[in-house]
């Protein structure tokens, strides 16, 4: 009875080979992966540093006044060569961006949301099987292609409807940007709609509601936070869109809200400035960073708001 139990050698000999090396490699891998993750923070920091330091060169110049920049209604760094007489007022570019973005949103938001409602509430399997790939293809088309589409088809069609449209105009660029944002609005809203639990829909049907009642009075309000955040993200995407406006919106920076006219947007100006002969280091050149920091600030606030809305107002059904 008092016999000593001998443990198996595997248990007495505890010098497992793998343990120490795997612990080391574990540490190394975690450090490496953590380094990658911190690289993404470094990128954000670099963006902010780049925008602030380069636009400081612009704002600190003698020819630029802060108040003129934010309230001025003339923007002429590309038209006037004499630096003394160049005017830096952001509003022409801002009005161009607002025109294009407003038209784009008028198209993308209602159409995107309606398509999403159709896909999540009404569509039968075969219709879905056609619509989903179409939207995915549309989402994958490069933006420069939409710009080309705008000058190839949209602009001439607009001129056919009313000759008062310029060859390059805010409406055609806006329509193209709207088409570009539509798949994004649609897929994000659809995600939000399909996250609404089935029981809510069944409740409405049980009370005798129609599909219209279900979708508009119950499902859409329940998914509102996701839909609003989709709208904000699409808005931010439309403001930052570059190639379409560079091709189709024209190069004249005028302060107006007429959608039939040319409208240089903030991104369009950056492209024009880079195309021009102006050297890196001149005040005119640095003005593009002044525009870029304004653009970044607007889109950043939009993205943050989108995330805030989604988190804060998300309805949870547990």
């Amino acid at each position: 009875m008092n016999e000593r139990i001998t443990l198996p050698t595997a248990l007495t000999d505890k010098r497992f080979k793998s343990t120490s090396t795997s612990r080391l490699s574990e540490r190394l891998m975690v450090a490496l992966l953590g380094g990658f993750a911190f690289l993404t923070i470094a990128i954000s920091a670099a963006i902010v540093f780049m925008l602030v330091s380069e636009s400081w060169n612009f704002f600190s110049s003698d020819y630029v006044k802060f108040s003129d920049f934010f309230f001025g209604t003339r923007w002429t760094p590309l038209q006037v060569t004499d630096i003394e007489r160049v005017e830096f007022g952001i509003w022409p570019l801002l009005s161009g961006t607002i025109r294009v973005t407003a038209i784009a949103m008028l198209i993308a938001l209602p159409l995107g949301l309606m398509t999403a409602i159709y896909l999540s509430e009404y569509a039968s399997r075969p219709v879905r099987a056609v619509l989903k790939p179409v939207l995915e293809i549309l989402a994958g088309v490069p933006t420069v292609v939409f710009g080309y589409f705008a000058i190839l088809l949209i602009s001439p069609s607009l001129q056919l409807i009313s000759p008062s449209f310029d060859t390059f105009n805010a409406t055609s660029a806006g329509i193209a940007v709207g088409i570009l944002c539509l798949p994004m609005v649609c897929s994000l809203s659809e995600d939000a709609l399909s996250a609404v639990p089935r029981s809510l829909r069944e409740g409405v049907y049980g009370l005798g509601g129609t599909r219209l009642d279900t979708s508009l009075k119950v499902v859409v309000p329940a998914a509102m936070s996701g839909i609003v955040s989709a709208f904000l993200l699409a808005f931010s995407r439309a403001i930052g869109e570059t190639m379409v406006v560079a091709l189709a919106a024209g190069t004249l920076a005028n302060f107006s809200f007429d959608p039939r006219q040319q409208s240089q947007t903030m991104t369009g100006f950056i492209v024009e400035m880079l195309k021009s002969e102006l050297e890196y280091g001149t005040v005119q050149y640095y003005s593009l960073f002044g525009v870029a920091i304004t653009l970044f600030a607007i889109t950043f606030v939009m993205t943050l708001m989108g995330q805030y809305v989604r988190r804060r107002y998300q309805e949870s059904y547990q």
Binding site: S25, T40, S44, M50, V144, V145, L153
Partner: protein
């Protein structure tokens, strides 16, 4: 005998029926409205493809696929440098963005901290990535411009026909002189990098045009010219002056990068990094926790679990996301335009890391804004080629997904 409640007894059945009918009618109309709006996107896609196909199919032929841009004659212009450039930029972009993106996703999903402060950091990194995804691509372009192209001018400014920037490896500099036989050149190695031209005064060791070492002879006015063609080819006139010739290896590296292939690839990597992180995170999240728990229960470390279990299980999703991100990269024009400029005249693909290059979207942009109508037709042709390449990439993604699913299922 029980009576019906008043609320029920007083119902006007016909009115209720007509109301219900009307409500169903509304619903039906709403259905129709939704359907017509949804099918609008099909109409738009068809219009887009048909109009571009009609405009561009005629310009696609063998010359179009093999030639380079021709500023004089649209019928001789082609897009081969742009195709090579786009593919190479995309490869560079994948090599840099994929490891970093997938690595960050693994860190965020699989190594969740328990410490309170680390948790806060973790949430911050996550928020930061969603914000990065919302930054307009042209802002990334400007980041690439200042960070890679100019490097905040820390290493000086790059200039034409002068030695500028800080070289590391992969470049040989010579003065190039015409020899007496008027058809071959000789090279004198450069000693002083500030001196961009060179005058020959005496016999000197140098190289011939193929970089083989030779002794360079000097012929002075009044002397008899050598008769041997071999000697003639390495003899130069006295006081002949030679200009700078730089010969690059493919791995040539210099700071700052300038408007180069390397700068373009890295900038594009910045653009698609958040997309890759987010899609990889989703793929990792879809792996059932039971798999991880089994691996951890068998005694593997966290990294062993990731390497042996989680990552292989998530691979189809990760790959699909990566290919979609590559599709985005190959069609992205704005950041590349900012970094490389709109010059589309290059006749070859990039030949070394610091070489400039043309990509397909830039070529399309350059042709599309050309006032000459035939160049605009070429742009449509280039769009068709680009869309076909994108379609091929997407079908690879679909194929991979199915293949992987079969293997694992």
């Amino acid at each position: 005998m029980s009576e019906l409640p008043k609320a029920i007894a007083n119902i006007d059945v016909n009115a209720e029926l007509s109301l219900a009918k009307r409500r169903h009618g509304y619903s039906w109309w709403f259905n129709l409205l939704c359907l017509s709006i949804a099918s609008l996107s099909v109409v738009v896609l068809v219009l887009l493809l048909v109009s571009i196909g009609y405009q561009g199919l005629g310009s696609i032929d063998a010359t179009f696929l093999t030639a380079s841009h021709d500023p004089e004659d649209p019928s001789k212009a082609g897009m081969s440098p742009a195709i090579i450039g786009s593919v190479l930029v995309c490869v560079l972009c994948a090599l840099t963005a994929l490891p970093v993106g997938i690595g960050s996703a693994i860190f965020l999903e699989e190594f969740k901290p328990t410490n309170r402060y680390l948790k806060l950091m973790h949430g911050f990194v996550q928020l930061n990535i969603s914000n990065l995804a919302g930054v307009p691509s042209i802002v990334y372009g400007l980041l690439g411009l200042t960070l890679f192209v100019y490097m905040f001018q820390v290493f000086g400014k790059l200039e034409q026909n002068a030695v500028s920037g800080v070289d590391f490896w992969g470049v040989r500099r010579y003065y190039q002189l015409l020899s007496l036989d008027q058809s071959s050149t000789v090279l004198v190695p450069m000693v002083d990098s500030k001196q961009t031209t060179y005058k020959v005064t005496q016999s000197i060791a140098g190289f011939n045009g193929k970089e083989q070492p030779i002794q360079i002879q000097v012929w002075r006015r009044g002397e008899a010219k050598p008769t041997d063609p071999e000697v003639l080819s390495r003899t130069v006139r006295e006081n002949a002056s030679g200009g700078l010739l730089e010969i690059y290896s493919w791995y040539y590296f210099r700071l700052p990068f300038g408007s180069s292939f390397l700068a373009a690839g890295l900038t594009l990597a910045l653009v698609i990094l958040p997309i890759i992180v987010i899609s990889s995170q989703e793929a990792l999240r879809a792996v059932p926790p039971s798999l991880r728990e089994a691996a951890l229960g068998l005694g593997s470390t966290q990294w062993q679990t990731v390497r042996g279990v989680t990552l292989p299980a998530a691979l189809p999703g990760v790959m699909t996301g990566a290919i979609l991100a590559m599709g985005r990269a190959i069609g992205e024009a704005a950041p590349i335009f900012v970094v490389l400029g709109g010059n589309i005249g290059k006749r070859t693909g990039p030949e070394h890391l610091m070489d400039s290059c043309v990509t397909m979207p830039i070529l399309i942009f350059g042709w599309a804004e050309n006032p000459v109508e035939s160049y605009r037709e070429l742009a449509a042709g280039a769009i068709i080629v680009l869309l076909v390449i994108l379609l091929l990439m997407n079908s690879v993604a679909v194929y991979l997904r199915q293949r992987m699913n079969q293997l694992s299922g």
